[in-house]
Point group: C2
């Protein structure tokens, strides 16, 4: 998990994953949008980090080397996250409860002032 | 997101989060199990990384400083993960399909050999 989270902790690598979520790409096409900001060796280094973490798989098909996302690594992150699900659901419940209180107070105030004006 | 993933990329910090998933702890109690392996300043440094990433909130209540998980930061990770859900669900579908094929083949073989033996 440390390797995976460390791989995810970089905006270029997350952008590469986002691109791969649209389909398979060979290294050249995957690298293209990043070459304005960095060299090809820098891009391939990022790709290697993603491969090492198991998030991306690079296959060999003759001269064509498509890269694709590896669902299992994402599943591992999701499984790890699941133990904390209750916390973000709770925080949403609290927000929901708070918003209901605010709305209820507003309605009471609205009615009060409304009846005073009449 | 880089800060959050970077904070998650350390086993001590993930262990601290796991402890906080059981309830709120003050810094001293949270630090206790980690003091066999590292100093108190090292533990508080890890805690600061978690706070900076928004994963943990430390409040002040007189002399008692409880730490707790911040659900919203986990929600952000979960939301980011959601765009890749299709990939791990797909990989499970493929595994499921493969297992069904293997089971079907086994059944066919079993029947064949079964009938030969009779």
């Amino acid at each position: 998990m440390s390797l995976t989270f460390s791989a995810l902790a970089d905006p270029t690598r997350r952008a590469m994953l986002a691109k791969l979520s649209k389909g398979e790409f060979n290294v050249t096409d995957l690298a293209k949008p990043f070459l304005k900001e960095m060299s090809l060796p820098a891009v391939t280094k990022h790709l290697k980090v993603l491969e090492k973490a198991g998030l991306v798989t690079k296959t060999r098909e003759a001269q064509w080397r498509p890269c694709k996302l590896n669902g299992e690594a994402f599943k591992d992150v999701s499984d790890w996250m699941d133990q904390y699900r209750i916390f973000w659901e709770e925080s949403f419940d609290r927000l929901d409860a708070y918003l209901k209180t605010v709305t209820a107070k507003k309605n009471v105030k609205g009615k009060k002032y409304g009846s005073n004006k009449k």
